[in-house]
Symmetry: C2
């Protein structure tokens, strides 16, 4: 199998982008990535698009053809495939692209993610998000996506894995970095107090514990590592991309304070890459709700069970705060969370860090980075490890 | 790259299955396929699910996790990925599975497709189907999916590529075979006259020119060719699977009486497999609307432009009618068309034919078979060539 590199990245601003259409966002991200890779587009021979619910958000299926078409690649008739695994759609698209190049079947691949969520009425948006839980055994009983994570938060507190304050500090950490990211939806620092006293969404979680509803697109260009230097001096190596699944419904698990899919995907990624958790100096984790951030940092092996919360609250995972910086992009909470785009945006942040292009949020001497993308309540998880070259 | 084999197939009855849930159908097809391959399920290390619109049809995203979970594979935490390319979702799932095995990254893969369409209100079903056309430039202008194919039919007649009667005969041919397929939605022969005088959907197309709305699921098990004989004496070789894209909107093409994506995917498949159109003795083509059947038979190289219609009308593509039998399963029109499942159902029919398990619809001495699956109005097309071993 061939080694694979990321040679170009492109991202739009994330936010409530009422003046931009889905296709305009897709084009912007795609063309930026192709340009950054110093390609013309004619070299691209495959496309994988992560998208969660364009069928419901903008009444458009076949995002695969749409994005290939509007990126000017329809004339090449390249195979373009949409992949979906709820909020992990971007991570799964990246994995599909890496697999295609690693196998030797395709050479220059665009892995992208896009979502336009804000065109829909608010009440309907919530129903779309809930559809990544189990429609028959969770959503139909009135459980919302936020309330599933609220139950996780309660259990984390009950089991003394983290305090309410420590859980809330996941959001504070993400916002610290959002201030520094020009593409972030929220470029404003928030206090622990404002998270704790924000309007309740599902007790104990308030609105500041929850990632926002966002529009945005992100794309990366992947090619064989041996070809990367032909196009650019600045690229990163993909050391591993893994994916694992779990039961769709949360109640079917033996524990709800850990996602087994994260642990299994991470374990495989560390094995494949021969990189240890302690080697990682920058990580993008899936903090769609604050308790997910606590779980991720422990499931990925960065902290022992019951110790992540304290480290976050102490500012140890902020840039410059310790050995590992987490969610330097602002995370899902502050950068924004256009569901299908998130997994690719994470890869872009890690790539930027390893290329030393992260500006004011640059992690010093970053050599290895990790991204974790979660679908549903941990029913699909991807873990990617990237390496500076 | 490794050679790949199909070693097991499983399919549900297609139809308006109001008593069966999406997950019940998925389990039935998946378990049948795993059993047919003489596996237990524990050997499966990857899953690709073709599904067009479960988010809208049954309010459920993350079909990837759902199907892995309810097939009893969640305990393995295998990577499971949903892929979508409109009505070509099944074909794209098959291609993703074949790529994964050919690359050596996965060994035993389930490629499946499923759709539960009839739980939704009729008016909403149409809106979902229309969402595979261009939402901004076609659907929003009031164009329905059927009317796009009606325009194609009119142009085919205007350009004297086929007559109205010849177009209608595509449906008659599919129904001849549907009678013989115990899994088909419609097991009833129909006359040319009944197609021509059926209630108009979009002039000139009547209801008997259009594939029905269906529920159903289909699954195949894929593994390296070299491992196939360990499990079964009856398997088929995958000689090629290709995929091509085109503009999302029909009006952007230079012609609407031919799908360039079909021609390009077919050309590549013939090149890769070194098999000629004249070698193929059984083909499953995407006859969602009758004019698509005419185009497919010409774009795939089976007939010269302007000659397919006459051959169909003369009964030459019925089993026993000539050198090539088309849509022996009943096609989309008579077997039924649960969108995401269709591409896999096609692969199953070809596999059954090449394993000599097609019973009363068996094509004598079938050695090579081809399946063509189309998304939208030809914006995504997959072509698969299978070979008896």
């Amino acid at each position: 199998m061939r080694e694979v590199a990321v040679i170009g990245v492109g991202i739009t601003r994330f936010g409530e982008l009422w003046n931009d259409s889905f296709r305009a966002l897709g084009i912007e991200a795609g063309l930026k990535a192709i340009e950054d890779a110093n390609l013309t587009g004619r070299e691209i021979d495959g496309m994988y698009i992560g998208n969660m619910s364009a069928g419901r958000f903008i009444n458009q299926q076949q995002i695969d053809a749409l994005v290939a078409d509007y990126s000017g690649l329809a004339s090449n008739h390249i195979p373009s495939t949409r992949v979906e695994a709820g909020e992990a759609s971007g991570g799964v698209a990246f994995r599909a692209g890496v697999m295609a190049v690693a196998s030797g079947m395709q050479d220059y691949v665009v892995a992208a993610g896009a979502e336009k969520m804000t065109d829909l009425d608010d009440s309907l948006i919530s129903s779309v998000l809930d559809s990544t839980s189990d429609a028959d055994w969770e959503a139909s009983m009135g459980i919302t996506f936020a309330s599933l994570y609220a139950m996780i938060a309660r259990r984390i507190i009950h089991d003394k894995i983290a305090t309410r304050e420590e859980i809330a500090s996941v959001s504070v950490n993400s916002h610290i970095h959002g201030v520094l990211n020009p593409y972030a939806q929220y470029r404003k620092a928030i206090t622990l107090d404002s998270v704790l006293h924000s309007s309740k969404v599902a007790d104990p979680l308030g609105i500041f514990d929850c990632a926002p509803i966002s529009d945005g697109a992100a794309a990366v260009v992947i090619c064989p590592l041996e070809c990367a230097r032909k196009h650019t001096d600045s690229f990163v190596k993909v050391s591993a991309v893994t994916q694992a699944s779990d039961t769709l419904a949360l109640f079917q698990r033996s524990t709800i304070t850990s996602f087994e899919a994260t642990r299994i995907a991470a374990q495989k990624a560390y094995e494949i890459s021969k990189i240890k958790p302690s080697d990682i100096s920058v990580a993008e984790i899936h903090d769609n709700y604050t308790p997910a951030g606590i779980m991720a940092m422990e499931d990925l092996g960065f902290f022992k069970k019951g110790t992540a919360g304290k480290a976050i609250l102490n500012g140890e995972v902020a840039v410059g705060g310790g050995k590992l910086a987490v969610n330097t992009s602002g995370g899902l909470k502050a950068r924004g969370h256009p569901t299908g785009a998130t997994g690719i945006a994470q890869i872009i942040e890690i790539t930027d860090q390893l290329r030393y292009r992260a500006d004011k949020r640059q992690v010093k001497d970053a050599k290895y980075g990790l991204a974790q993308n979660v679908g549903g309540t941990g029913s699909a998880v991807t873990v990617s490890i990237l390496e500076a070259v």
